[in-house]
């Protein structure tokens, strides 16, 4: 039985509003945290829970919190990263849209733990209607004494402000987000100094993803140790997965990270199988940046073991034969899809979103897009495939922020696993305009070395 911690109440009628949310047990974690626990005890509890950042990097949240500098007389800030922009990812939107008070509750507890009196939610500009939903939830929380001055008589003051971005994927990177929050272009900063020391307005700052901060609520309610019992290994708690592409039931699912990838795709409880009775060809399991896997390596690891929906299992085999959990954006491709075309749209995305600061990324992303376009539209050469490989290799690791890596990995993985599809495009330029390469051998059982 799958346990739900975040979305359990998401479909209770009227849960968007304070009265219903409170009646369903909302804001208990604020009472518990502010009245019976100190900031250090909350940080300890989050550490014990094993909660890992849900934005994509998977860094332990409690550890991140413990890095925050506390210089005398300098305000500190918590910033919630709601700039969800990784293609395939729409889980934070779902959480904020359906159960906004859960985020506000998590933000109050987390702000108390970090000593943030002014907390900011930086939300992608396109989610304009969610700004209204969040601002209403904040007003309601304030009217009921959960925000503002001297919360619950503890002397703790806290306000939450919602800031809209304006269309820039790069602002999901925490230092670019901070720049944007300061009213500047979203150019990532060199680290160190890390935001925990010098962040927003040069003050100590923690930036956490929406889902991470919402997860603080069940952690405080049930205790970090109990939370850590859910899931498996270092994949503790539950994870929101946004599933899309060619499946029967696209949507947002909360899983406890013990289910197999196969169950996730084919079970009626989740994706409900591949749409239109087609076969599974490939999948990008953790948002567009993570390596694409052919069906055979997705369902089983290179060792022939079942692959599970958790951090460790999805990355089993490294980039050679595995992928990553990433942001939980699960993109499924059926047998009719063209991996070259798909890679081209992602390369275009990264070219569009590169901030232009570092030349390997600024020049490399545009160059990769151009080459992929040539291959896709029948003007490619075989040497282009090696050239693509070379360019992505020279971007990876050579930029200030991870956007360079994020742009390189999808291209690298597509060539690594689907090289023959690229070659077919080059060798059959006319045919490739009329039909796709198809499923080919990508779902065949893999040969497991004895």
């Amino acid at each position: 039985m799958n346990k739900k911690l975040l979305l359990e109440k998401a479909h209770v009628e009227g849960i968007r509003h304070y009265d219903v949310y409170r009646r369903e047990g909302g804001y208990r974690s604020v009472e518990k945290a502010l009245k019976t626990m100190g900031p250090e005890a909350i940080v300890e509890e989050v550490k014990k829970s094993g909660l890992r950042g849900r934005g994509g990097a998977g860094f332990p949240a409690g550890m991140k919190w413990s890095f925050i500098a506390k210089p005398e007389g300098v305000p500190r800030h918590l910033v919630c990263n709601a700039d969800e922009s990784e293609p395939g990812t729409f889980k934070d939107r779902y959480l904020m849209e359906f159960i906004p008070h859960l985020l506000i509750e998590g933000l109050i507890v987390s702000s108390f733990a970090l000593g943030s009196n002014d907390t900011y939610i930086y939300i992608r500009g396109e989610y304009a209607w969610i700004v209204d939903i969040l601002e209403q939830a904040i007003e309601e929380a304030k009217a009921n004494g959960w925000l503002g001055k001297n919360i619950l008589g503890t002397g703790f003051d806290c306000n939450i402000h919602v800031q809209r971005g304006a269309g820039a994927y790069i602002c999901g990177e925490e230092t670019a987000l901070i720049e944007s929050l300061e009213g500047k272009r979203g150019n990532p900063r060199l680290k160190p100094p890390f935001p925990a020391v010098k962040g927003l307005w040069e003050r100590p700052t923690v930036v956490n993803n929406v889902e991470t901060l919402a997860a603080v609520v069940p952690i405080i309610n049930m205790g970090g140790e109990e939370y850590a019992k859910i899931g498996v290994g270092r994949s503790t708690g539950t994870k929101l997965i946004s599933a899309c592409g060619n499946i029967n039931k696209p949507g947002v699912y909360e899983i406890d990270m013990t289910i197999s990838v196969e169950e996730f795709i084919y079970s009626d409880e989740y994706c409900g199988g591949i749409a239109n009775g087609k076969k599974l060809k490939a999948c990008i399991p953790g948002g567009s940046s993570v390596p694409i896997l052919p069906a055979n390596l997705l369902l089983k690891t290179a060792k022939g073991e079942t692959r599970y929906m958790n951090y460790e299992s999805l990355s089993d085999g490294g980039f050679a034969t595995g992928s990553m959990m990433g942001s939980g954006g699960f993109i499924v491709l059926d047998e009719d899809q063209c991996v070259v075309k798909n890679t081209l749209t992602l390369a275009r995305f990264y070219r569009h979103e590169s901030c232009g600061q570092c030349s390997p990324c600024r020049e490399g992303t545009g160059w990769m897009e151009k080459i992929l376009q040539n291959i896709e539209y029948g003007k490619g050469k075989l040497s282009d495939i090696d050239l693509l490989w070379d360019i992505q290799r020279r971007i990876e690791g050579n930029t200030i922020c991870p956007l360079g890596d994020a742009a390189a990995w999808p291209v690298a993985a597509a060539i690594r696993h689907f090289r023959d599809e690229f070659e077919w495009h080059v060798k059959n330029p006319e045919e490739a305009q009329k039909r796709n390469f198809g499923l080919a051998h990508y779902a065949d059982p893999i040969h497991v070395p004895a």
């Binding site: 305000p75 969800e84 922009s85 990784e86 293609p87 395939g88 990812t89 729409f90 939107r93 002014d118 900011y120 992608r124 500009g125 396109e126 989610y127 304009a128 209607w129 402000h161 800031q163 809209r164 971005g165 304006a166 269309g167 820039a168 994927y169 944007s180 929050l181 300061e182 009213g183 500047k184 272009r185 979203g186 307005w201 946004s242 599933a243 899309c244 592409g245 060619n246 696209p250 949507g251 947002v252 990008i284 567009s288 954006g329 993109i331 491709l333 899809q337 075309k341 798909n342 749209t345 992602l346 275009r348 995305f349 569009h352 979103e353 901030c355």
Partner: protein
């Protein structure tokens, strides 16, 4: 001369009040949204200069931000702007066909505005609606699970609204 009216100024003050004293530049992105919504859906040089003056920053600080973020329009757009997503997950669900259909139906190419000034067609990169693809943004709302019929309906609806407002 473009200037915020009283209601808009009130909103401006609310936005600026969210940041510490002396950090009013932080309000730049939301203020540019407000300006774009208030002055015909785009940001002219005069509008940007006005925003700079209000926030007490240099005009260049506004220009460099306005040109960086994709949601700010730097030239006039139609009354209704269709921003159709074309990234991977939407492409897998047929966004190419939707874009072609809108082009044909409105007789314009990507980036153009219809001669009656009603519609502008743009393509955009992932808007976080991948599970509800294909999709487009229209002002403050998302239109999802697009089909040709749905596109027909939306265009019809826009034309009716525009006629009713004239």
């Amino acid at each position: 001369m473009t200037k915020f009216n009283d209601d808009q100024l009130k909103e401006f003050n609310r936005l600026v009040a969210r940041y510490p004293q002396g950090k009013q530049k932080s309000a730049l992105l939301p203020v540019l949204h407000l300006a774009q919504d208030s002055f015909g859906g785009w940001l002219s040089a005069a509008t940007m200069d006005y925003v700079a003056e209000l926030l007490q920053i240099k005009p260049i600080e506004v220009y460099e931000v306005a040109t960086f973020y994709s949601m700010y329009n730097l030239k006039p757009v139609g009354k209704y702007v269709f921003e159709v997503c074309q990234t991977g997950p939407c492409m897998l669900r047929g966004s190419d066909n939707i874009i072609d259909y809108i082009k044909e139906k409105l007789g314009i190419d990507i980036g153009q505005t219809t001669t009656d000034g009603l519609f502008t067609l743009k393509t955009v990169e992932c808007l976080g609606a991948c599970g509800y693809a294909p999709m487009m943004q229209m002002g403050k709302t998302y239109r999802e699970h697009l089909t040709k019929e749905k596109v027909d309906h939306i265009i019809e609806e826009c034309r009716k609204n525009a006629a009713a407002n004239n």
